[in-house]
Subunit: 359 residues, 4 copies
């Protein structure tokens, strides 16, 4: 099969770099174009990320692919999306709001930005969770008169939460959710991100707009596609989002009130078996399971569990009865915020869309 040509917009940023790293040897996607702001345009990629001190500003653990390093960087504003089959957009929300509709006129856009997540005709995909929302793509294209479309992935804090709530909702129904997150520094990026003076020996108990995103996006993702729109889940999430001195991997303490009583054994089984159908499709970036449930009392830990299957597995542990909530259970999860929660998750979404003929 011929590889799809893809562009990475915002290629010089941290999220953009993760796309480059994840696509360097991808069997189905060929990175055909890179774009960034005017400052980088006209340089080759390696040059664009080289600081005047001579330092190569490449931040992924994977080495920079020499072939990609030689690609020219185009200007995002003038990039012609018709030259590719698919655009991966990894820009800030303001830029996304401006740029993504331009690309979408002609070309599908899978985005990490929040700009369009709240639009009624835009699905927020998580692999294995709500890919059936892709029915909304036709609605979006028709309504907007686009040949392409925009599909964002969610805020990285929502990813692991929604992955674990989905099987619970399907099996037992959900009444309400409380969640306290202990989020990694990488979620804040590098410009300037979280500075060492603020986070060493410390916790920052607030991440602007994060708790609202968790609430809104979780309800939409776990909502039901009805005709031309999504009916959001009718339960609420009460979130407290904090930042801790961890590099990668969000930890979340989750309390769920189920609609129907369930034993811990049943809950465990439902979590562990979640996503069989999706997994069986063996898409290139798919892990062998969506959720790993552990009985280790001291797990999951972000440093020790985040990299399971290259960050594509959500690890759940400390499954217990919640003594306060009606039909309450509680657990702790670890989800890799810059793998399944960002570029690699977006790539897996795109693999699904290609597989379904939507790209």
């Amino acid at each position: 099969m011929q590889k799809k040509k893809v562009a990475i917009i915002g290629a010089t940023g941290l999220a953009g770099q993760q796309f480059l790293a994840s696509l360097a040897r991808h069997p189905g996607f060929e990175v055909a174009a890179l774009a960034a702001s005017a400052r980088s345009a006209g340089k080759c990629y390696r040059e664009a990320i080289t600081h005047e001190s001579g330092s190569l500003q490449w931040f992924c653990p994977e080495p920079l692919s020499p072939a990609l390093a030689d690609l020219p960087v185009q200007e995002a504003r003038t990039f012609d999306a018709r030259t590719v089959d698919l655009v991966f957009a990894a820009v800030e929300s303001d830029a996304a709001r401006e740029l993504e509709p331009i690309y979408a006129r002609t070309t599908p856009v899978v985005s990490t930005a929040s700009a369009f997540r709240d639009e009624p005709d835009v699905p927020i995909f998580i692999p294995g969770v709500n890919l059936e929302h892709d029915g909304l793509i036709a609605v979006q294209k028709a309504r907007r008169g686009w040949q392409g479309f925009i599909t964002p992935i969610p805020n990285c804090t929502v990813t692991g939460l929604a992955i674990t709530l989905k099987p619970l909702q399907d099996a037992f129904g959900i009444q309400s959710v409380l969640m306290t997150s202990l989020q990694a520094c990488s979620g804040a990026g590098r410009s300037p991100g979280v500075i060492g003076l603020d986070i060493i020996d410390n916790v920052i108990p607030y991440i602007p707009k994060e708790e609202e995103k968790v609430q809104r996006e979780a309800q939409k993702i776990l909502g039901r596609l009805e005709g031309d729109h999504i009916v959001p889940a009718n339960w609420a999430v009460s979130a407290t989002c904090t930042r801790v001195p961890v590099l990668e991997g969000h930890t979340e303490a989750v309390n769920v009130s189920l609609e129907r009583s369930a034993s811990l054994a049943d809950v465990k089984s439902v979590l562990a078996e979640f996503g069989r159908n999706f997994i069986s499709r063996r898409l290139p970036s798919s892990p062998s399971r969506l959720i790993q449930v552990t009985d280790e009392p001291f797990r999951p830990q972000p440093r020790r569990d985040r990299d399971t299957e290259d960050g594509m597995v959500t690890t759940v542990g400390r499954l217990r009865v919640d003594p306060v909530l009606s039909n309450g259970i509680k657990y702790v999860l670890v989800s890799h915020n810059t793998k399944m929660g960002a570029a690699k998750g977006a790539i897996l979404v795109a693999e699904h869309l290609v597989d379904r003929g939507l790209i």
Copy 2:
């Protein structure tokens, strides 16, 4: 007024050292005796905490008082508690179970250990929260035939939680509480405590027995003394206790379902004004307020707020409506686990008992 003579049992350990540091210049207590295990007995204190490498194993930021450094260390098992007016016990739970009753036959014991917290005739004191439980002391003395008594302080994770729940219970009633803690490493002590290989760039999502202690102790502390026993609070706490790479200061994300609806302004006012009567007694170790409520969106932070009034103030921030719980509110607190939550809190309890003529 003549100073009360006090002994510190477990003087060489981390909690014991905090007693020495806090009592070095105390206006009402004179450290008259130090005791520890047989290994240290017979040495002067400085010698007892000097490692064979020549390193002085003193871990408080305050300097070691030269006068205390010269005191002889007695053996805890044979220490004669009649030589002092009061015993501060800072030993592990197993040792406390054996030693504290021996001392209590003749002498009051204020303890940081968990050994007796669950006994029905033993109050668990938090300054300003439940000191009226001291009515139980006479019951305990009578029942056990002791001239002294045992009063433990709670687990350090309970301290800040109970301090903030008490005014809410008094003003609005409580239906239920959910709490996720992000606890400091100092809570685990030094033998071996939390090792760097486990906690750097990581979260440990489990602290053995901690969640059960939070539940039991909070209910007892916020219970009502009725005659010769305490009727525990009838609401439950669902706790998830985690360890984070923070040196001192427990952070807790708390969700409370109140019995009666309350505006955030009312909740804030009730928290900020809590403890006026206790504060007005101006006991030597008392802070000028029990709770500081902050509107700063990014506070409280353990590193920046733990040392408020030398660690005796609980800081509450991020006060919000909880969208999930009935009459729900939520907030984040920071409490200094080795100041108000340990030695200095125990000393403040003892100051109360002296003031009330119970010591």
Copy 3:
């Protein structure tokens, strides 16, 4: 004695805040004016450091003085230095190069910036080390036709190094110095400073321009004033400067080749007794000793030793013979980079200048 009126330029930055914190209750200096960039000008100080989110961007552990919080912030470019007796400048090097000469026409300037450190008529002061270089002030005023003058303090990495080298040079002579620093994050400030993603679980082995500054400034500070210029010390420093995950306090491993052989006992004695004359002047910000020498094998440690006498003491430990260098000794020092190495050090310099009638 009437207090001197002082201005703090760059008052909103991290170094500027440290001046405010250190001067809030100073017996000899009254903060009469605050200045910063145009963005802050016209606001009161509290407003100027309040982020749009409502967060007060105050980063010192000391609380912000309410009186200083109410002061208006003037624009640095148009600030009239004649309104004060002394200017403390805490701005970046480029701004310092432009602004400091304007102030110095009329008013003495004590600066933390590097802009003028290399000018031949500008002394770089460290309290107790080279204050006799103040003879250069008259030269500078005459040559430039200024009523005021500029005296910078050194790079914070030089401070502890020069304080420990000075007594060695005086007593034994120095042939050469090698130094590897393990520097705290606060040395890099907050804009953006060192980000958590770079420094957690990591070392950054390079700090731009730092090693050259160490070499040049150490030689000048330990040079000899001859007539109208300073003859730099004739020995070189080979420095390797690294950044480590420490908040405050620079640690430096120093190897010195002395001109004359010296026993470790002699070296220790010379270090411990250094600065007696300066100390005896009892200037308000002066510590009771400049150097504390410890025999504790595991000290000095930045976290445990940086705050000795509020950060004004350099702690030296691990004093050993160097087996490689001629007449070699080696030691490890800890110096508080944002106390003696920044604002408080500059204030102590100013106290000297006032005491000598130079301000």
Copy 4:
């Protein structure tokens, strides 16, 4: 070729686990026996490392091989080394002193312990550096009447240092070396290792016995085999060894006085090309180069460079002229202390010995 049967002694400890992880799929070695202290003996390996809380005490990032997890753990004191072709010993020094000679009577022992490093007939091997010292094995066997032998690898701090000094010595000669290390916490193991309360936001400037080991072992490793003994290198190392809040990877700032003047280009070339002959043997655990030289100004960093070629490459950066030493150069290196510096380095040594017919 038939696989050699190997035993891992001290299999439950951190170093032992690294042997298990590295040998799980080794083409030339088959783990045929595991041994540990009496406490573990008689259990299967999985059981032996399972804590009473149910927690599996497995600390390598690589998963525990199920086949190895099922192996029985024998008691080290009674283990019959004749049942294997080779013993990997990963026990503490005291145990090594007792156990290794018992095994060596019949069987070769490659050890991570320091017990025998200073014996004149015992070589300390580093792959690619001094494998020609294997001539000493015959001497050792003859002198001690053993059929086997003992060959320790060096202290992990020496490994990267010696790897970089060897090509410099060969090409230019060495007069003297100064080194300051910034060592990772994993070097201290887990019992108890470095505790979080000591290392977060801190540096510990002393590691007992480490500096002496660096001096002695470096001289021996870079010494010359003459007949039946090694003539140590005649230059000294002045080391200062510190511990920093880093999980894995020792950083070392090295200053070298060469015998003959060399340009930086020559030095760089000599470092980068070091070990060609060894590399060309393509032993199973061999990296593709021993030293990687980087021009990146901010590298090497332990977190970003330690895992190069699975931790078997030493990365050198910041190569500069040393202004103080005669023919001086200086650089910073990062070496993975628990890969090339421990189990995997020992395995690579063993691969050499098998290849040479010595096992």
